[in-house]
Symmetry: D2
Subunit: 223 residues, 4 copies
């Protein structure tokens, strides 16, 4: 089925892109002067088997994230990790708001192995780990104002999942006034077609979807 799906999607994306080009969508937001890397939810509950949130494709997604993290570190540029987990549930009340009514957040507890960033991508001292409670890395967090205070104008987004946290974060990134760059090889999901479709929508309207090589070359060029 996946082959048929991918073939169908490629055909339809080509048609849709032709239509968008005529209408003036799919423009390039472009790279800015000071990027931050925002690695979305590359915690064990997503990167490793055995959790309701476990994703596929980590054999390529993790190395792509490692390459980007190394590039940002080499230039002394900000690296931010997010994870998603609850601290409190009290009857129906929880700090996750209503989101636990849609997705199995009861599997993600603050302080658990599932909520910890994958060892292969371990944050270093001076790097930021944001515990978020919603899909977007910006919603209900200090991410936007922290990046603003640092003079960051570009947000390079990676991680999981394309159909939820990466997408909502990208939509919020451009809404907040940052140039979103989503790195194709560094993004994952868990259902067929989700990466392809969501990156297509993102590239048309919210941020530039770029290959890993281009993102690495951009960081390498920075002073």
């Amino acid at each position: 089925m996946t082959d048929v799906l991918n073939q169908t999607l490629q055909t339809i994306f080509a048609e849709n892109s032709a239509f968008y080009a005529e209408r003036g969508f799919e423009r390039r937001v472009g790279y800015g002067r000071k990027p931050a890397l925002v690695v979305i939810d590359m915690a064990n509950g997503w990167t490793r088997p055995g959790s309701p949130f476990s994703c596929g494709g980590m054999d390529t997604v993790i190395p792509a994230n490692q390459a980007l993290i190394a590039a940002f570190r080499a230039k002394g540029l900000p690296v931010v990790f997010t994870t998603t987990a609850y601290d409190v549930t009290a009857g129906e009340d929880t700090d996750m708001g209503l989101w636990a009514r849609k997705v199995p957040l009861e599997a993600m507890k603050t302080g658990s192995w599932e909520a910890a960033i994958d060892d292969e991508l371990a944050p270093r001292g001076g790097e930021f780990v944001i515990l978020k409670k919603r899909a977007s890395a910006f919603h209900g967090t200090n991410l936007s104002s922290m990046l603003k205070a640092m003079g960051v104008d570009t947000v390079v987004l990676t991680g999981v999942t394309a159909s939820a946290c990466v997408r909502h974060s990208t939509e919020d990134a451009i809404a907040e006034g940052f140039r979103p760059i989503v790195v194709r090889e560094a993004v994952g999901d868990r259902i067929a077609g989700a990466i392809a479709w969501n990156l297509f929508d993102i590239d048309a309207k919210f941020g530039d979807v770029e290959p890993l090589d281009a993102a690495l070359a951009y960081v390498a060029r920075l002073g």
Copy 2:
């Protein structure tokens, strides 16, 4: 192509839903006690031909919105319309932020015919029209705090487009603590597959996608 696409999507959605069911996604957020109707961007630039933003399917989308608006009015429940347009451009600076670098916002000017709500859905006195500058009806607007002050707990979302403003608004609605209900027949877009895919993602993770009949029956039941 559309038939092949739809057939392929239906097959893949069935597979994905089976997977999600096993994992605990696609839960029901459910209807609450006090809903507001939020009609996204049903302005002429989207509902009528001749604009870069023109959408298809208005023969069904407009009547579905009319039915919902009538139902909310009959119960004295809040109705909110949004439109998206710029007020100012000064060189590279605009009140649309960076979004004009991705989509043709130069076609939508505040006060223009394009930016006005379609006459077939004309707002009445006492209804709210929000001029937004971003995809989400919540981002950079007073929508969330206004609804909160009214005691609203449920947001029924309709309008265009599924792949941008409706989706981002729905993601923000649940993030803000409202129960999002997206009415299938009342949502439009302009490219093949966009409605189907985005409603699938929304229903899995952000809000309940409901048929028009169910949404109308819900409003009819309210005191």
Copy 3:
């Protein structure tokens, strides 16, 4: 000096209140149906001597907070504590944004004794502790959307300081659509006149400043 100051302030507040009454300010927002208690920054760095942030008057402020916490617990109503501390500094970059350029935030480190809630007010399981990075308990946190999801319509605010975190939180509370009630005896500060002046401004424009007895009687009345 304090006597002269207080006398002068009382005189001027009486004149200002008469003026406001004529103009239509100093209205009552009133108590709602479901309150949450939000205890601002009653952590050791504020409640105990020896920190740049140490406040006075804890002999009355702590018991007033204890009484309110007990009342909310007795009714099973939500209790939220905040503290303010940094996680990361990397050169000039910090998760506190620019705020460390105005106030001595370097004294408040996440995980330190200073940042921990005072033992006399220790949070219990099922209560919420928000680590904030700004003055307002709402800014860059999930507080508003969490309370919305719980159906809370009233926020009872206490803690320190009147001239910064309590005031900004109260301004944001009404902006977000909650009824703010600030409990006079439960609020502290560290400089002369700051409590009196800020509670006057708050009561005129942002929330109702109420005596402890009235707030306790309100909670006692709830079902």
Copy 4:
């Protein structure tokens, strides 16, 4: 009374500043590289007699604002005006949320003379006028993300009133990651002591309160 008040306040501010200096408050956030001017609520309802919101001191506040606006225009820097007014009231529901329960917002209607920016400060084409619904110029508006998209790092704040809209906007400005500069001569209010006290608190904790000359000299220095 005003003389006694001012004398008392000056004495107490001197004492409080000495205390703050020892504790590490009242630091300088400093001027950044690209400022925007944000003129708060200099609309007729505040600047002219006859409204519940009418302020005093306009003989000095208006010229100070004119000087700043001219300076920003001369350098092609962004100028933003705000006004506050309601669009809709429907029974108890209004787009002003709960704020009308504290202050006489029924006097400020969108499109009225009261809500229009004072002719002596008339906005030009290419300048931004934000219709806000809350005290803060940032809350529920696109101001922060618009300024971020423009690369602005410093917000020069003026207008009315010191005890509400200017103060809340300044608190939000630093929370959002901008350097707030509040220009003493360009800020007004309507009650005795309100300007002095609020500028003292602001300067201690949220932004730099600067004389007009210094702010003009800063803008003159910019390339």
